[in-house]
């Protein structure tokens, strides 16, 4: 049977009958593979980058010394490991003192990435794959500036005097922003006991860093998780650099949506082409049955044919997908500035799997039905009537395929339901329009053309709504994409702060603001910060246990509370209401979940030993990727004003202010400055390039829409040829036939364009209202796009169908 299937397949391939199914399949597979490959490689690149930022694949963090069992678990699994201890402490040099974040690391540190160590503050430095040698320290440049030391000089850490060996240029840790991070000092773990800074009562963080093969890392993480105690948490790559991760996640989701449209259109094209193919092969199927093949055998031959064919087309799709992915990454690669590791097997399997699944869902039902072809078809062609059943089967299977991809791509059931809703609405509207069109008076050649459209409603609905959906996808992407990306980019406006100033005293706020303004910095913002530990919800004490490491960590950690008159612009209330005059807390929604608190609950924070209880008045969503100052907890001013606070400032520095930074640090010695400009540039660049990347994937969508068009016009080719030939025999002249065909393709183009326009305007309005997007393009954008789309449909239809204008009518009619 395989041999027969292969033989027939080869013949069909040469005859070109499978071309359209192949094209649709290749495009669908390519779109999925390309997007999955980009997602996979970028995720791997990010993990590697984040691991370099962490210095490990996983870090186990604890506020008490870690038992050796954790280390043994890592050793048993064959992982490399390193130990580190960190804590804040004052560092002294030449009579100056500054708070530093001390990190004491052993010889194995770092396990991933390198530390760049420079000899001057301005120098880029060279990469070192280990920590500072015993007896020496590496300082973060701003600490060196604050202390006024250079390489070779000495600093005092606790009881020890250590030599400055270089300046470590470390990247900012996104997650550390809210914690009030002092500039860092790296020292050898061996030197730590002598400093006398660490006693059993000290508040230090003990870290165990591990690295190794992913499977072993995952296994060890699981073992750790089982033994996790309160006060411990496991950090992975996702905990590092959330801003960039969010930007890339969002970017790949845009890509996935474009690919989803390509898959959907590819599927439609496959369905049309397969049904045509099945109809063309009814005689062959009947002949096989005539020769004694059982029904299952006939169905088996065609199914196998499809499977073999799917594999061939799938491999082609994978190759094309790789090419597209390479182009996409060329756009992203340079700016990500990171090495992108080779992909794993998953994207390939996903692409091929989606291709085969798509074929099975869209193309198999009509081929499977060939097993049921009556043997008498050999003797006399039995006219095939369109049946409703296969449409239902297609819809179910196609829904499953699209659902699988949508979920994999991170688009929730809502997005998918929306897509299905749009498709159904288009189909319904097409059906109604066809009914109305069918009532139009028509004569002669035009009557034949119109009847061809309106009296095969099943297939015409698929054709027209498929084309309309294609146009809709293309137009939506073209029109909405710009504004969506623009809105996204607006979350990072050109004046987004790129420097944060922490640990300001209330008295320093005005002078620092004046100093910054004098340096040309416009509108620096300042927020009070008050440390508070959540202790009770509705009088019930909070327990530290449960909910995993991070949740427990957040519950027992002191949070930075602030009070404000107005909520930050990019915060969105999801429940309750905000009023600065009503005493209460506004919580970030995720934080509220961790605390188990909701609107109306009485929440108590311990602030400087005093319990402060107030109702939760609202929950907020916070756009963390904006890199603006954001808070888990915002209080109404009356609630917190009386407590002592430090202040946090945020500003976009002018080049002048940037140069004056060392002087500012000297003037405000307690100040901690965090520079996020590099990260900001990176995130903004990702946003820009995602626009281009989406456009590239969108060409695949466009390609798929064109294949739908070809499949649709090809669908009734034989019948159309026969109709045209008959009309010519009956005396119709060339001009009349051409006119009829133009009208026919014109009607289909108008229907598809009109439906795409109506649905597009509705979708556009809905998305803009839901996301608060402003209309930036001209009002005629949509109508013009739809008209152009309709015209393209009609022109493509003409070019596909004009070959059917009978040249040799007798041959077309009699088959001779």
């Amino acid at each position: 049977m395989i041999r027969l299937a292969w033989l027939l397949l080869r013949r069909e391939w040469h005859a070109g009958a499978l071309g359209l199914i192949a094209l649709a399949s290749v495009i669908g597979v390519a779109a999925v593979t390309a997007v999955a490959l980009v997602g996979d490689r970028v995720a791997r690149g990010l993990e590697a980058q984040a691991a370099a930022l962490l210095g490990a694949d996983r870090v186990l963090e604890s506020d008490r010394p870690l038992s050796v069992a954790f280390q043994d678990a890592a050793r048993d699994a064959g992982l490399e490991f390193a130990r580190a201890v960190d804590f804040p402490s004052m560092v002294l040099a030449g009579g100056r003192a500054h708070l530093a974040w001390i990190q004491a690391v052993d010889e194995a540190y770092p396990l991933r990435g390198t530390v760049r160590v420079a000899q001057t503050v301005a120098d880029e430095g060279t990469a070192r794959a280990h920590g500072p040698p015993p007896g020496s320290v590496w300082l973060e440049p701003r600490l060196a500036l604050a202390l006024g030391v250079s390489v070779g000089e000495q600093v005092q850490v606790g009881r020890s005097t250590l030599r400055v060996d270089g300046f470590a240029r470390l990247q900012p840790l996104g997650g550390a922003l809210a914690g009030g991070v002092a500039p860092r000092l790296l020292m050898s773990l061996g030197d730590l006991p002598a400093t006398g800074l660490v006693t059993p009562a000290s508040r230090v963080t003990h870290r165990l860093l591990v690295a190794g093969p992913p499977a072993a890392v995952a296994a060890v993480t699981r073992r750790w998780q089982a033994d996790l105690e309160p006060g411990m948490q496991i950090l992975g790559p996702r905990n590092a650099g959330p801003a960039l991760t969010t930007a890339l996640d969002r970017g790949t989701r845009f890509l996935a949506l474009a690919a989803l449209a390509a898959v959907l259109l590819g599927g439609l094209a496959m369905a049309l082409a397969a049904r045509r193919y099945a109809e063309e092969h009814r005689r062959q199927a009947a002949l096989l049955r005539c020769f004694g093949a059982a029904r299952a055998q006939v169905a088996g031959v065609f199914t196998l044919q499809l499977l073999l064919f799917g594999l061939v087309a799938g491999v082609l799709g994978l190759l094309l997908g790789w090419g597209v992915q390479a182009l996409l990454l060329r756009l992203l690669d340079a700016l990500l500035g990171m090495h992108l590791p080779l992909p794993g097997a998953a994207p390939w399997l996903l692409g091929l799997g989606m291709g085969l699944l798509g074929l099975a869902a869209f193309a198999l039902p009509p081929l499977w039905a060939l097993g049921r072809v009556p043997v008498t078809t050999v003797l006399r062609p039995v006219p095939v009537r369109p049946r409703g059943r296969w449409l239902g089967l297609f819809a179910a299977l196609a829904g499953a395929v699209l659902g699988a991809w949508a979920l994999l791509a991170g688009w929730g059931p809502l997005a998918l339901a929306g897509l299905a809703g749009v498709a159904l609405a288009l189909a319904g509207a097409t059906r109604l329009l066809l009914y109305l069109l069918g009532r139009l008076p028509a004569r002669g050649v035009w009557r034949v053309g119109l009847a061809g459209i309106t009296r095969r409603p099943g297939i015409t609905v698929v054709q027209v709504s498929g084309l309309a959906l294609g146009l809709l996808a293309v137009l939506t992407l073209a029109w909405l994409r710009g504004d969506l990306l623009a809105q996204w980019a607006r979350s990072l406006p050109p004046d987004a702060p790129d420097h944060f100033f922490l640990n300001l005293t209330p008295e320093q706020r005005v002078p620092l603001s004046d100093d910054l303004r004098a340096l040309g910095v416009s509108a620096p913002t300042f927020h009070p910060m008050i440390r508070g530990r959540p202790v009770a919800v509705n009088g019930e004490p909070l327990r530290a246990e449960g909910g995993g490491g991070r949740a427990a960590h957040l519950r027992r950690r002191e949070a930075n509370l602030t009070y404000l008159e107005h909520l930050p612009e990019d915060n969105r209330i999801v429940s309750g209401a905000w009023s600065p005059t009503v005493p209460g807390w506004s919580l970030e929604a995720g934080y509220a979940r961790v605390l188990g608190a909701t609107v109306g609950d009485a929440l108590t924070f311990d602030i400087a030993g005093e319990p402060v209880t107030a109702p939760v008045t609202s929950l907020r969503e916070v756009a963390w990727e904006t890199l603006r100052p954001n808070f888990f907890v915002i209080a109404s001013p009356a609630l917190l004003e009386r407590f002592p606070s430090t202040w946090m400032g945020a500003a976009r520095l002018t080049p002048e202010a940037r140069r004056a930074l060392p002087e500012l640090v000297r003037r405000y010695p307690n100040l901690t400055v965090i520079d996020v400009s590099a990260l900001l540039t990176q995130v903004r660049a990702v946003m820009d390039r995602v626009g281009q990347a989406v456009q590239l994937v969108f060409t695949l969508t466009l390609g798929a829409a064109l294949v739908v068009m070809a499949a649709a016009w090809r669908f009734h080719r034989q019948q159309r040829r026969r109709d045209q030939a008959l009309l010519r025999v009956l005396g119709a002249q060339d001009a009349a036939l051409r006119r009829g065909l133009w009208r026919e393709v014109g009607v289909v183009g108008t229907l598809a364009g009109g439906l795409a326009l109506t649905a597009g305007l509705a979708l556009d309005g809905w998305v803009r209202t839901a996301l608060g997007l402003a209309q930036t393009g001209p009002w005629w954008g949509w109508p013009l796009g739809a008209a152009a789309g309709g015209l393209v449909v009609a022109l493509a239809g003409w070019s596909f169908a004009r070959g059917d204008l009978a040249r040799r009518p007798w041959r077309d009619l009699t088959g001779e």
Binding site: P383, V445, Q719, L726, L727, L730, G731, Q733, W810
Partner: protein, 224 residues
């Protein structure tokens, strides 16, 4: 003597095949008077359908001339041939060739509308009633039996009152009983309208009902 409805002079046709020239018709001469019925017999591949296509102006012969109702068909361009065909000829095919998306009535109206005749609906309805399908006007071809479909095709052929009817194996797809019934109607309508009939067939019984019988053998036309 009346002018022949159809006249053929020195008609030859060949195609260039991979093995060299394949001659289908050789120096065919033919003349048919108005109202005459003629059967064209011959084995498969003898060129019967090719001759029919050339007589209808659906293809151009390599050599020779064809006149229909006094106009030289072979001198006309494609559109002029189409107009002449629409105004003077009717066709009946072996596989009916009804348009599946049109009802029986619409199929019969079609040739009238193509040549711009008025009252197509009334004419078509009358002819369909004449062939016994008055109750099937709004049925689609797929809802009709083979015999009924061919009767629709015959109604369509006669509706514009053609002067020349070309029928290509009209009973080829029908069983004997249905075939006979359909042919009875065809001959009856033909007699009523005084149409000239050229009937291509394998069936000697059917051929016997025509006034004249010719045989096409090896591209040459001879009396049967």
């Amino acid at each position: 003597m009346t002018e022949p409805v159809l006249a053929v002079e020195g008609l030859s046709h060949w195609v260039d095949a991979p093995g060299g020239r394949l001659t289908l018709l050789r120096e065919v001469e033919l003349s048919i008077r108005a109202g005459e019925t003629m059967a064209l017999l011959g084995p498969s591949g003898a060129g019967k359908s090719t001759l029919l296509a050339l007589l209808a102006g659906l293809d151009r012969p390599r050599a020779g001339r064809v006149w229909v109702v006094g106009r030289e068909l072979t001198a006309l361009d494609e559109d002029e041939r189409a107009r002449l065909r629409g105004e003077t000829m009717g066709f009946v095919f072996q596989s009916f060739q009804l348009i599946p998306t049109l009802t029986a009535l619409e199929n019969v109206m079609l040739p009238l509308e193509v040549i711009g005749r008025t009252g197509a609906g009334d004419t078509a309805r009358a002819v369909l009633e004449r062939v016994g399908l008055g109750a099937r006007l709004n049925h689609y071809p797929a809802q009709l039996s083979g015999g009924e479909q061919q009767r629709v095709a015959i109604a369509r052929a006669f509706a514009p009152r053609p002067r020349l009817l070309l029928a290509d194996e009209p009973t080829g797809n029908l069983d004997r009983v249905n075939g006979e019934r359909v042919m009875d109607q065809l001959f009856a309508l033909n007699a009523e309208a005084g149409t000239t009939l050229v009937l291509v067939t394998h069936d000697p019984v059917l051929a016997a009902r025509c006034q004249r019988r010719l045989r096409l053998e090896d591209g040459r036309l001879e009396a049967a």
